[in-house]
C-alpha cells in the first residue's frame, strides 16, 4: 500500500533537482576536457622539420597484447626521406576494434613516435573502417616544415636512430 507522503517526497525531489546545476553536457556541441593521462586514439608524431619519428621497428606491434598493430618497414633514401634514420614505416596500421588502449605501444616505442592522443570519438559503419592507416595516424606537418617524403642532401642523416630531441 503506497503512502501518500512518500509520493509527495518523491515529487519534491524531482522538483528540487530542476534548480540544480546539470551533471551532463550537451555532447557533441559541448565536449568535456579529458584528463592529462587519457589514452585515446593514437597519433604518429613528427619532428619539427616534418620528418616522421617512426622508424618502423615494430616494437609496438610486438608489445601489443591485442595484436592490433601491423608495421612494415622500408629503407629511406636521400631522394625520398620519411624519417631521419635508415628505416621508416612504409605501412603502419592499427585496428581500433582490437585496440584496448593499454598504451604498451607507447611504452615500447624507442623514438616516442606513437602516442595515445585525446581523441575518443571513434565510430565506424563497417569493420574495415576501424583499421587506421599510416596516413590517417600521422599528425599534420608543421606549417613551416616540408611534408614527407623529403629530398635531402646526401649525408644529412647518418645515424640509425636519431637522438630523442629534434635533430634540427
Amino acid at each position: 500500500m503506497l503512502r501518500p507522503g512518500a509520493l509527495m517526497r518523491g515529487m519534491w525531489t524531482t522538483f528540487k533537482s530542476m534548480f540544480e546545476k546539470p551533471v551532463t553536457v550537451m555532447y557533441p556541441q559541448v565536449k568535456r576536457p579529458v584528463s592529462k593521462r587519457f589514452k585515446g586514439r593514437h597519433e604518429l608524431k613528427r619532428y619539427d622539420n616534418g620528418l616522421e619519428k617512426c622508424i618502423g621497428c615494430a616494437l609496438c606491434a610486438a608489445a601489443c597484447p591485442a595484436d592490433a598493430i601491423f608495421v612494415e618497414a622500408s629503407e629511406n633514401t636521400d631522394e625520398q626521406r620519411y624519417s631521419p634514420g635508415e628505416r621508416y614505416a612504409s605501412t603502419y596500421e592499427i585496428n581500433f576494434l582490437r585496440c584496448i588502449y593499454c598504451g604498451f605501444c607507447e611504452d615500447a616505442c624507442p623514438t616516442e613516435a606513437i602516442v595515445l592522443g585525446d581523441n575518443y570519438e571513434l565510430s565506424y559503419t563497417n569493420r574495415s573502417e576501424a583499421i587506421y592507416t599510416r596516413e590517417m595516424l600521422l599528425v599534420p606537418v608543421h606549417p613551416s616544415a616540408a611534408p614527407t617524403p623529403q629530398k635531402v642532401a646526401p649525408g644529412t642523416f647518418d645515424r640509425p636512430i636519431p637522438e630523442m630531441e629534434d635533430p634540427d
Binding site: E72, G85, P160, I161
Partner: protein, 848 residues
C-alpha cells in the same frame, strides 16, 4: 664435437665437474662443448662449434681447476676428507680454448665469473650503436640475448662518446656490413677461410680501427657469403635481400628442401603476410635447417637467394587453351576434358616428359598415367645412371661427416662447387680429416685444392679414364681403346687407382662436366664397374652418387622415368606430349621445332616458358613452396618439404592435375593428399617400401646442438624439428650382386678448324627459377664461353670481348673468358645461359 661424441667408445673418456655436475666426455672436448652437452650454457661470441676456437672475445671466461699432484711422487694430493685437492688457475680461463681433462673442475657461475662477463659485455658495447630497433638481427641476436642474460644493464662509458663508423658498407651486392655493430669476433673471416676456403673478406687495421674489408672483384666473391650473416653474433653482416624485410619474431617458419641441386639441403622458409605484396603471405627469407647428414648448418647463396620465383608475378594462374593460334584462358573443366580426349586418342603414342624438380609424388602419378596408356615416361635430363645409383648407390647410413683416412672419394667429370656446392664443402672437410680425395676433370676445379691426385683427361674421355682406373686395379680387362691404355699407364692414374682400391670405403661422384647423355651413360657404368671390381658397394660410405642437374632427378629415376636417348625423335613421332616442369624448347631450337611437329602438346608449368608458348594446352601448377611432397637426393635420402605459403587460387599440385586427367581416363590416382601417394609409392617401388610421411618427419638429437632458443651457438640456422629424412638402401645393400658391364666408350671427332664446344655447369646460371631473384642479378653468369688463352690468342680474341659463337646451327653473341687449365681446342659453354648446348658439339668462334 660431433665426431667426439659419436665415437665415445673409441675415445678415452675423462670425467670433469662443471658447476657441481659431474660428467664424462671424450678427452679433448672443449669445456664449452662439455657444458653444452648437459645443457649448461657458457656464453660465447667468437666460438663456433664448426670452427677452430680462437678465444678472441673473452665471453666464455670461467674458473678452471685441475687436481693437484705432488711434484716428487706425482701422486694426487688429497684434501682432509679424501677428495682430490683442486688447484684453480689464478686467472679466469677461456672455456672455448680449454680442453677437458681428468678431474677438472669448472666453475661457471661464481661471483668472479659473473663479474667478468659483465665487464666483457660492457666493453663489447662501448662502441656498439645499440640500434637494435632498426637492426635486422634484433630479436635473434646473440649480443642482445647475452646482454639481457649476463649484462649489467648499465655502462660506465658515456653514450655520446661512442665511436662512429660507416653503417652501410656493401660487401658486394649480397651482404651489407655495419662497421659499428661489429664486435671483431672473426667468425665471418674464419668461416670464409677455414670452412669454405674463399679468403675474400679479411680484417684490416688494428684495435678500435679494425674493420672487415673485401678486395675481391666482385666484392665478397663467394658462393657462401650468406652463411656469414647466420653466424655473425651481431647485426654487422646482413643480407641485401632481407634488409628491413621483417622482424624475426613476426615470421612463420616452414620446413622445406632446396631443389636447386641434388644435395637436398634442408631449409626453413620464413614467411609473412605483407602489404607490399598485396596482402599475400610470402617468403621473406630462406634459412638453413640443421641436418648433419646433408647440409650441416650451411647453404649456398643460390639456395638462400634464388627463391623469389614462387612469388613472381609472371606465374601462370589459369589454364590456357590454344584457339585460332592463340593461347586463351579457359576453365579447368574445359582444359582437362580436352587434354583427356587427346590423350585417349594418342594412347601409347603419348610421350610424358618431366623435369627433375618435380616431387616424387608428381613423378609417380605421371609415370602411372603414362603406364596406363602405354606411353613413354621420360625424364628431361642429359645425365644417365640413375638406375645404377639405385642399385649401387651409397649405403644407408652414409654421411660425409663420418669419412676420414679410411675413405677414398673419387669425383669425376664434375666441377663440384658449381654443380653441388654443399657436397664440395663436405668432401673438402672429409679431405681435411684425412679422406683421400681424387679429382678427375679436364680442367682445374676448386676441389683440386683438397685432392691428393688430380687426374686430367680430354673432354669425352671421362668414361675412359674411369676404365683406366679399373684396368689399373684388375688387369683382366677386355680390349680397351688406345687412349685408355695410355691413361692406365699414367703414374698419377696408377697411384689414384691404388688409393681407391686400397681404401676401406670408396665413394664415387660423377657429374656432367662436358658429357652428353651417351657419355654420361658410359661414365656411370664405368664408375659402377670400378666400385663393383673394388668391392665398394652395399655398405655405408661406399657407392655411387650422381651429381644430378636437378634436385629430384634421382627420385624421377626411382619412379621409373628415364631420359630419352633421342628426345628429338620421341617428340616428333608422338601424337600427344605431356610436359611438366621442363623447358626443352627454351634449351634448344631443335626441340622447339620437334614440338611444333608434335600433334598435341600439354605443358604443366609455373611460367610461360618457351615450351609453354608452343603448347596447345597450358596447365598452371602449384610451386613446391605451396604444397607438400618429397624429394630424393643424390645420396638417395628421401626428404619431406612442407607448404610455406598458400597456393595461388584455383591451382592444383602437379600430382593433382595428373590425377584429374587420369581420373577422366578411368585410372584412380590420389589427387589431394601427397601422403597417400607416398603410401602407393611404397607399395609399387620396392626401395620405397615401408616409407611413410611419419617416418620422414622423424628427428633425433644432432651434434653440435644448435637452436633458436640459444642462438649464440650455431647462429640463426634453424634446428630440425620436422624431419631428417630417410636414406634408402641401394639394391646392393639388400643382397643384389651386380656384375661388370663393359660398354663401348663414345668418342668425339672434330674437323680441323672447329673447336669442340662442351657443356659445363655454372651454379648461378640463368635458369627459370633463378632469374626472378633480383638480388642475384649482378652475380648471375652472363652468356659467355671459356677458351684456353692460347686458343684465344690464335683466334685473336681478348678476355671479356664479344664473339660470335656458331653452334648447332644457331649464332649467338657471347663474352669470352679464359681458363688456362682447360685443354686446347675446346670451348666451354655453360648450360642454362641461353646458349643451346646439350652435348659436346663442334663449334666455330668468329671475332666481331
Amino acid at each position: 664435437m660431433s665426431e667426439l661424441v659419436k665415437n665415445e667408445a673409441a675415445q678415452n673418456m675423462v670425467t670433469l665437474t662443471i658447476d657441481d655436475h659431474t660428467m664424462s666426455v671424450p678427452e679433448g672436448t672443449l669445456v664449452v662443448d662439455a657444458a653444452r652437452s648437459i645443457g649448461l650454457d657458457i656464453p660465447v661470441f667468437c666460438y663456433h662449434p664448426k670452427m677452430e676456437p680462437v678465444g678472441m672475445c673473452r665471453m666464455c671466461l670461467v674458473e678452471i681447476g685441475t687436481p693437484m699432484r705432488d711434484r716428487t711422487t706425482s701422486e694426487p694430493i688429497l684434501e682432509d676428507d679424501g677428495s682430490p685437492k683442486i688447484q684453480f688457475f689464478p686467472n679466469l680461463m677461456t672455456g672455448c680454448t680449454f680442453r677437458a681433462s681428468e678431474g677438472m673442475v669448472v666453475r661457471g657461475y661464481t661471483e668472479k665469473v659473473t663479474a667478468a662477463r659483465k665487464e666483457v659485455l660492457e666493453f663489447l658495447l662501448t662502441s656498439h650503436p645499440l640500434d637494435c630497433p632498426t637492426c635486422d638481427k634484433g630479436g635473434e641476436c646473440p649480443l642482445q640475448n647475452l646482454t639481457m642474460q649476463f649484462g649489467d644493464g648499465e655502462s660506465r662509458f658515456i653514450y655520446d662518446e661512442k665511436m662512429h663508423s660507416a653503417k652501410h658498407v656493401a660487401l658486394g651486392d649480397l651482404i651489407f656490413l655495419d662497421r659499428e655493430r661489429c664486435i671483431q669476433c672473426a667468425r665471418c673471416t674464419r668461416f670464409q677461410d677455414e670452412i669454405v676456403d674463399d679468403q675474400v673478406i679479411g680484417f684490416s687495421n688494428r684495435g678500435r680501427a679494425l674493420e672487415i674489408v673485401t678486395f675481391s672483384d666482385p666484392g665478397f666473391d663467394s658462393y657462401w657469403s650468406g652463411n656469414t650473416t647466420d653466424i655473425c653474433p651481431v647485426g654487422a653482416l646482413t643480407t641485401a635481400d632481407f634488409r628491413f624485410g621483417a622482424r624475426p619474431w613476426e615470421m612463420n617458419a616452414s620446413a622445406s628442401i632446396c631443389n636447386h641441386c641434388a644435395v637436398g639441403c634442408n631449409l626453413t622458409f620464413n614467411t609473412r603476410r605483407e602489404v607490399k605484396s598485396g596482402g599475400e603471405k610470402i617468403i621473406k627469407r630462406v634459412m638453413p635447417r640443421q641436418n648433419e647428414a646433408v647440409n650441416e648448418i650451411w647453404i649456398c647463396d643460390k639456395g638462400r637467394f634464388a627463391y623469389h620465383f614462387t612469388a613472381s608475378d609472371q606465374r601462370l594462374n589459369q589454364p590456357l587453351i590454344r584457339k585460332d593460334g592463340k593461347l586463351v584462358p579457359s576453365s579447368w573443366e574445359l582444359a582437362l576434358d580436352l587434354v583427356t580426349s587427346r590423350f585417349k586418342n594418342a594412347g601409347e603414342n603419348l610421350v610424358t616428359l618431366a623435369g627433375g624438380r618435380l616431387s616424387n609424388e608428381d613423378l609417380f602419378n605421371l609415370a602411372e598415367l603414362s603406364a596406363h596408356l602405354g606411353g613413354d615416361a621420360l625424364l628431361y635430363s642429359d645425365m644417365a645412371g640413375g638406375d645404377l645409383v639405385s642399385r649401387l648407390g651409397v649405403g644407408e647410413g652414409t654421411n660425409f661427416s663420418d669419412m676420414g683416412p679410411e675413405t677414398a672419394i673419387l669425383v669425376v667429370a664434375c666441377n663440384l662447387e658449381e654443380e653441388a656446392p654443399l657436397w664440395w664443402l663436405r668432401i673438402k672437410q672429409a679431405a681435411e680429416r684425412g679422406a683421400k680425395v681424387i679429382v678427375a676433370n679436364p680442367r682445374k676445379t676448386k676441389l683440386d685444392r683438397s685432392a691428393i691426385h688430380n687426374l686430367r683427361y680430354e673432354y669425352g674421355q671421362e668414361a675412359g679414364l674411369v676404365t683406366a682406373l679399373l684396368s689399373a686395379i684388375s688387369p683382366k680387362q677386355p680390349k680397351s681403346p688406345a687412349f685408355v691404355n695410355k691413361l692406365a699407364k699414367d703414374k698419377e692414374v696408377k697411384a689414384a687407382a691404388k688409393a681407391l682400391s686400397e681404401a676401406e670405403n670408396t665413394v664415387i661422384l660423377f657429374g656432367s662436366e662436358g658429357t652428353s647423355y651417351a657419355a654420361s651413360a658410359a661414365l656411370a657404368q664405368a664408375c659402377a664397374n670400378l666400385l663393383i671390381a673394388s668391392g665398394h658397394i652395399g655398405r655405408p660410405n661406399n657407392g655411387l652418387i650422381g651429381v644430378w642437374d636437378k634436385g629430384n632427378a634421382q627420385g624421377a629415376w626411382d619412379m621409373g622415368l628415364r631420359p630419352s636417348e633421342d628426345l628429338d625423335a620421341a617428340l616428333k613421332t608422338s601424337q600427344a606430349v605431356y610436359i611438366s616442369a621442363a623447358d626443352p624448347a627454351g634449351d634448344s631450337k631443335q626441340y622447339a621445332s620437334a614440338l611444333k611437329k608434335a600433334d598435341f602438346v600439354v605443358v604443366q608449368e609455373l611460367y610461360m616458358t618457351a615450351t609453354a608458348e608452343l603448347a596447345d594446352v597450358v596447365l598452371p601448377a602449384q610451386a613446391f613452396t605451396e604444397r607438400e611432397g618429397t624429394y630424393t637426393s643424390g645420396e638417395r635420402r628421401v626428404q619431406r618439404f612442407y607448404p610455406a605459403v598458400p597456393s595461388l587460387p584455383d591451382l592444383l599440385p602437379d600430382f593433382g592435375i595428373t590425377a584429374e586427367i587420369a581420373g577422366r581416363l578411368g585410372l584412380e590416382l590420389e589427387k589431394t593428399a601427397p601422403a597417400s601417394v607416398m603410401l602407393q609409392i611404397a607399395e609399387v617401388v620396392p626401395d620405397y617400401a615401408e616409407l611413410t610421411y611419419q617416418k620422414l618427419a622423424k628427428v633425433e638429437k644432432q651434434f653440435p646442438l644448435i637452436g633458436r632458443e640459444d642462438v649464440y651457438y650455431g647462429g640463426t640456422s634453424y634446428q630440425n624439428s620436422q624431419g631428417l629424412g630417410v636414406q634408402l638402401k641401394p639394391a646392393a645393400q639388400n643382397g643384389d650382386s651386380p656384375v661388370l658391364v663393359i660398354t663401348e666408350l663414345p668418342e668425339v671427332k672434330l674437323s680441323g678448324e672447329e673447336l669442340l664446344a662442351v657443356p659445363v655447369t655454372r651454379l648461378l646460371d640463368l635458369g627459370n627459377t633463378v632469374t626472378p631473384s633480383e638480388v642475384l642479378v649482378t652475380r648471375l653468369a652472363k652468356p659467355h664461353v671459356a677458351l684456353h688463352p692460347q686458343d684465344a690468342e690464335k683466334l685473336g680474341v681478348e678476355w671479356g670481348s664479344k664473339v660470335k659463337l656458331i653452334l648447332n646451327g644457331s649464332t649467338q653473341t657471347v663474352l669470352v673468358e679464359f681458363d688456362n687449365s682447360m685443354p686446347h681446342g675446346v670451348v666451354l659453354v655453360p648450360r642454362s645461359l641461353g646458349i643451346p648446348i646439350i652435348s659436346p658439339t663442334p663449334a666455330t668462334i668468329k671475332v666481331l
